[in-house]
């Protein structure tokens, strides 16, 4: 369960309760989307799972997904009804069915998700060290960090992360194509450590 937001003015005067539930803006839309997904998956059950002749029902590969999707559809349907009925209740913070402002907030991290994938894609080319040392300050710049000390600290943190995980803990990271530019000795060193 979600604890109450500690920054939302609990302070000392409020009565403690772990179970305060609020319906945030977009709740109905999320419920509708979940129910839609559940129905879509349920409809695709026959062509996305196989049925084998002369095999007991309970041993069919389709059996368990049917149970799970049936439950998913049932509860997402109930959640949709609950959200619809609660639209005008006191616990609903925004009764509108499609709160545009909230939807825009939902898609805001898409930009960061894209950077994350680009960062991952750059590793086989630039290597882990260079990608990380570039990624952290660039993301810092994007999020409004302008001071040289702040950006330098992020770059240093990037070096620290690479040293800790790749050099120290030897986690598996692909070597960068960029390392091919160096002599075999340096290349091996770079591949092993960075």
């Amino acid at each position: 369960m979600n604890p109450p937001s500690a920054n939302s003015g609990i302070a000392a005067e409020a009565k403690p309760s772990l179970f305060d539930v609020r319906r945030r803006p977009g709740d109905f839309l999320f419920a509708a989307a979940s129910f839609g997904l559940a129905l879509f998956l349920l409809m695709r059950l026959p062509d996305q799972t196989r049925w084998f002749n002369r095999v007991d029902l309970l041993l069919q590969p389709r059996f368990w997904p049917s149970v799970v999707l049936g439950t998913f559809t049932l509860f997402s349907g109930l959640y949709l009804i609950q959200s619809w009925r609660a639209r005008k209740g006191p616990e609903h913070l925004d009764p509108s069915m499609v709160p545009i402002g909230e939807l825009l907030r939902w898609v805001r991290p898409l930009e960061f998700a894209l950077y994350f994938v680009v960062y991952a894609a750059s590793i086989p080319w630039l290597g882990y060290l260079l990608s990380t040392v570039a990624f952290m300050p660039l993301l810092g710049l994007r999020t409004g960090i302008r001071s040289l000390s702040g950006l330098g600290m992020l770059a240093a943190l990037g070096v620290g992360i690479v040293l800790a995980f790749k050099t120290g803990l030897e986690v598996r990271m692909p070597p960068g194509a960029f390392y091919e530019l160096f002599s075999p000795v340096v290349r091996n060193f770079l591949i092993r450590n960075f």
Partner: protein
Amino acid sequence: MEVLAELMRLDVALAVAIGAIGGVVIGAIPGVGPAVAIAILLPATFQFEPLVGITLLLGIYGASMFGGAVPAILINTPGTPVNALTTYDGYAMTRRGEARQALSIAYSASFCGGVFSVACLLALSPYLAKVAPYFGSRDIFMAALLGVVMVILAHRGQTVAAAMLVSFGMFLNTVGLEGVRFSHRFTFGQSWLNSGFDLITVILGLFAISQAFKLLVDRERPPPLPAMGRGGGAGLRALARHPRLAGVSSAFGVVMGIIPGVGEFLAQFFSYTFAQKTSRNPERIGRGSPEGLIASEAANNAVPAAAMIPLLALGIPGEALTAMMLSVFHVHGVIPGPKLFETQPHFLQSLFVVLLVINVLVLGFLRISTRWLVQVVRTPPRHLGIAVLTLSLVGVYSLRASLVDCAVAAAFGMLGFILRRLELPLVPIVLGMVLGRIMDEKFRASLARVETPLDFIDRPVSGTIFAIIVVSLLAHGIAVVREHRLHKARAAGTALP
């Protein structure tokens, strides 16, 4: 002696120290928390020996709740979600200029809960070793079902949403090539879906990446630190004044930790209610009372060790963090379950002693480091967001060096972000994935011995678990009806007795 020799090993000692100290620091930073840290570190621990890897993660798990009390008390923001109740009494004490006293009480209560829980684990393990082998497929299936029911019921006020998310998690687990007839399920012709959704990728997306997105988008400024005041020795005095409360709260933590799917929130709820009912000044609970602080912190910290009981004895994780640890066990070929107590008793004993050492080490560390630790609380969220996103890549990419995994993790990060905005829980999805897999496997394994549905509950263990499920559902039903009536009466403006 063998256990002591294990603990004296440099790698184990280092894992204990790094896990304990790292856990405190991670817990003290609002917005990181143990789930994020464990999700990130998980793949890195795969190359360690099981004892080293598990010790490191256990250290973070147990110690983070100690650390989580620091921002809860100082700036009214829980370091980990389970420290939310600590804000009520802790922050109120800080506003009265008693921050150091509040911290001292929180540390002592946490230590009490932690040690009590490990003592219970040590005392129970011989019995577990005797009982665990009696658990067959049907019993484990029922225990996993109990976990599913409990994780839903534990989200009081959000049970329907929790049930929906658990079923979604269970669905995610069915995607890919199934292991009996090797047919595809919900792959939509996409080869990258053949192996299904990787648990660690989903966990990293839901917990770590979504948190990074939140930190990057919200850009909140941390509030200034308050004056610390005096009273560093208040913790022991408060515990000496309220030994019964500390003991009962710790016991609630142990019991709730053992029941799969329940965990810290209900433990705190019961212990806090107990504190309110037994206090000489119940009106002060929630307004800066040491008793409230003892109740919430002792209960919290008793859970991690107790949560290891269903994991080790039955292979059933009770919450997201033990679900993550389950994958470390599996990677190392140490399969938690009834046979573990027979085959690896020394490993288990070492693990129990490690838990005890972690608690002692954390208390010592907190006693000397609080003045520096409070500065960690003020780490700027943007910096944290960038660090968490960068570290998340280590976790995802080091699994298979797959760009698809990164995209999937980012997609689950988006889903996690939306769920956080909606104040809906993330844990049911993860537990649905883990418990769904166990239920699917054990259900099929049971079928050889089952002719009618009643055969599932004709064994003493499975029958007892089924009875617990029925009683829990009935109790919940009664509570819902009662709340509904209360709600209607309030709406009608009538005074209730």
